[in-house]
Amino acid sequence: MPGLSERIERFFEELPPLLSGVEGMVARGKAYRKALCEAGLAGLDVPAGYGGGGYGPPAKALFAKLSRGRIPAEDDIFTIGLGMALPTLLEFAAEHLRRRYVEPALRGEEIWCQMYSEPGAGSDLAGLQTRALRTAGGWVLNGQKIWTSRAEIAQFAICLARTDVDAPKHKGITMFVVPMDQPGVTVRPIRQITGACEFNEVFLDDAVVPEDHVVGEVNGGWPVAVALMQNERSAIGSGGGRRPVPFEKLRDLVHDRGRAADPRVRGDLADCYIGQRLAELLSELEAESVDAGTPLGAETSLGKLWRSTNGRAAAALVGELAFATGTAWQTGDDREDWAYAVLDACALSLGGGTDEVQKNGIAEKVLGLPRDPYRTDKVPFRDLTVGTQRD
């Protein structure tokens, strides 16, 4: 990769003027991507034929290293598209789809989201109920998706839907590319317990998908989804996504609230440090294992479990210190941010697979403990009870 380092360096040096004056999250995100693409630095590990750099993983790692702390925050709007949708398209989609969609995604001209979870299909994603029917004019989708980040700005989605209700649940699912800008797609933001809206619900009412926009085989969507989720879990386990309150902020809070001599607070702070440091070290070990050629296993779940533990511990400490004198505040008080942090931590044991699901995975896949004897693998989907059964 001769000269790559220099090109990356130069790009980031020249970046600020290119973005100056560009306002708004989407506009700034797109401007950054465009510049990156024009510098020949977008999708370094994507084959050149699809608009990428055609380098291998080392180039990607080099870019990650040199770009640390220099990428504008607005590039986050492409994380799902480039981190999840694009690898899926490259690995599983037909050539005409890759030709059509990969390069515009790399250039930031089209934003993607993914539509997997449903109100009735969370931990048991394979229980999803969104139906896709093949018609003369293409596929018609009906159903409801949930936890869809970026749906409000995305032009396309990769989306799982049920194409055969007579098959067992894993065998009747298909992956589609769904155009979002159509009357059959309605996006509604979900307000979270923090008050913020990170996610959306997406309602599909006779949403239309071209006949040839199937990714992989019809009724063969499940293995595609599994590959994707493994990436997602690893990303969450090793650094991506939501984080507990960082130790340094906890330490400063202890000082700030004058509790640095309180032995119990000191002990709790030490435990917060231990949890966060061990999570870092495990992720360092995991990276070393991967470099040494050991494939990623369910052990990545450990990082996820540590985040839950660390999130809970940090929330408990913050709850006790930040609100020691009172639990109400004027706008601008630091308690406002601490309250957000305490509430937000609740998601750490839920998003990306609950703690319970992670522990099942460790027990079965790493430790070899037997699966639950009650299985529904062979029951036709139409005979399964799924979702929330309120009268």
């Binding site: 931990s123 020691a324 109400a328 505040w329 004027q330 706008t331 406002e336 319970e356 309120r390």
Partner: protein, 357 residues
């Protein structure tokens, strides 16, 4: 005295819970308050009959607070019917009692209390006497229902001592601004006194006796509210675990969910008996009262947090949305744990009792 709830108390609790559930927020304003005062008579629960109240016991109060906790009741019960009423009762100032208790009992007057551990005192509140006229100066934050209260009972530095005063916040010298609360169902304000005219309640120095005793009563009331909230979290979690299907079965059939619910049940039943015991100790004037109350406050605060978190976890992603009540309980659990002495402070007070010889 029995740990079993009486038939009358059960009836009161059920009736109250039904009423509060019918009037869920945002539909829970003045009308509901007057129903609580006039129809159920719970606003004057702690007030002796001679002042127009029901002359109820602390076990009765615990019964009421549990129902309010279950329904996340947002009204000024704790501030007015518990804190203000007991501040007056503890003051032994018969004149002030005669002036205010009847109106407090009928719900026509709303009071709240400004004192250490029951709100946040910024620095100190100073009382100044000038030719027989007393004024207060100072600031308090996180004052429960401070904006809606008609009368503030304020503990202030009175020379070398601490005394109890009342302030009419509508007169000049008092300014109030609303605050954002961690508990979305509990109003709080910042109250600033600048030479605000005040009336002394009870003799100078009376607050030294009143404040710790009031904190005990507040701790009991909030512990009962916490148990109520925890029991509602348990019920909601179990209900959801029965109707939510994943992997072809209700999630409540998974052992992880079962055991989480069993743990919640242990918290709720144990918290209930802790509160009930603390209330009977207070009613009986038992020497076990301080440790029974500290135990109830430690245990129920942490039990509510644990149950609110478990409820949220069992609800999965839905629990993380604004639409479900899960977060209201979690917010209240986190907030109320810190009020009237954080769990660890009560734990140390309890240890003081236990290790004394």
């Amino acid at each position: 005295m029995s740990l079993l709830i009486t038939a009358e108390q059960r009836m009161l609790q059920d009736g109250l819970e039904q009423l509060l559930t019918r009037h869920a927020p945002p539909d829970s304003g003045a009308e509901l308050w007057h129903q609580l005062a006039d129809e159920l008579g719970v606003v004057g629960l702690c007030i002796p009959e001679e002042f127009g109240g029901a002359g109820g016991t602390f076990t009765d109060l615990a019964v009421v607070m549990e129902a309010m906790g279950r329904t996340l009741y947002p009204g000024p019960y704790l501030s007015s019917a518990v804190l203000a009423v007991h501040a007056l009762l503890l003051s032994e100032d018969v004149a002030a009692q005669g002036d205010h208790l009847p109106n407090l009992a009928r719900g026509r007057l709303l009071g709240t209390v400004i004192a250490e551990d029951l709100c946040e005192i910024d620095g100190r509140i100073l009382a100044t006497s000038n030719s027989g006229r007393v004024t207060l100066s100072g600031t308090a934050s996180s004052v429960l229902d401070g904006l809606s209260a008609d009368l503030l009972f304020v503990v202030a530095e009175d020379g070398e001592q601490q005394s109890l005063f009342s302030v009419d916040p509508s007169t000049a010298g008092t300014t109030r601004i609303p605050l954002t609360s961690l508990d979305l169902r509990r109003d709080a304000a910042r109250v600033t006194f600048a030479e605000a005219p005040a009336q002394r309640i009870g003799p100078p120095g009376a607050a030294a006796e009143i404040v710790p005793r009031l904190r005990q009563i507040a701790s009991l009331a909030i512990a009962a509210e916490q148990v109520g909230g925890a029991s509602r979290c348990l019920d909601d979690a179990c209900e959801y675990a029965k109707v939510r299907y994943q992997f072809g079965r209700p999630i409540g059939s998974f052992q992880a969910v079962k055991h989480a619910c069993a743990d919640m049940y242990q918290h709720v039943r144990s918290g209930h008996v802790a509160v009930r015991h603390a209330a009977r100790c207070l009613d009986a004037g038992s020497p076990e009262s301080p440790s029974a109350i500290a135990m109830a406050k430690v245990y129920c605060a942490e039990a509510y947090i644990a149950c609110a978190a478990a409820n949220l976890q069992i609800h999965g992603g839905m629990g993380f949305t604004w639409e479900e009540n899960c977060h209201l309980h979690y917010r209240r659990a986190r907030a109320s744990a810190m009020w009237a002495g954080a769990p660890d402070r009560h734990r140390q007070w309890l240890a003081d009792q236990l290790l004394a010889r």
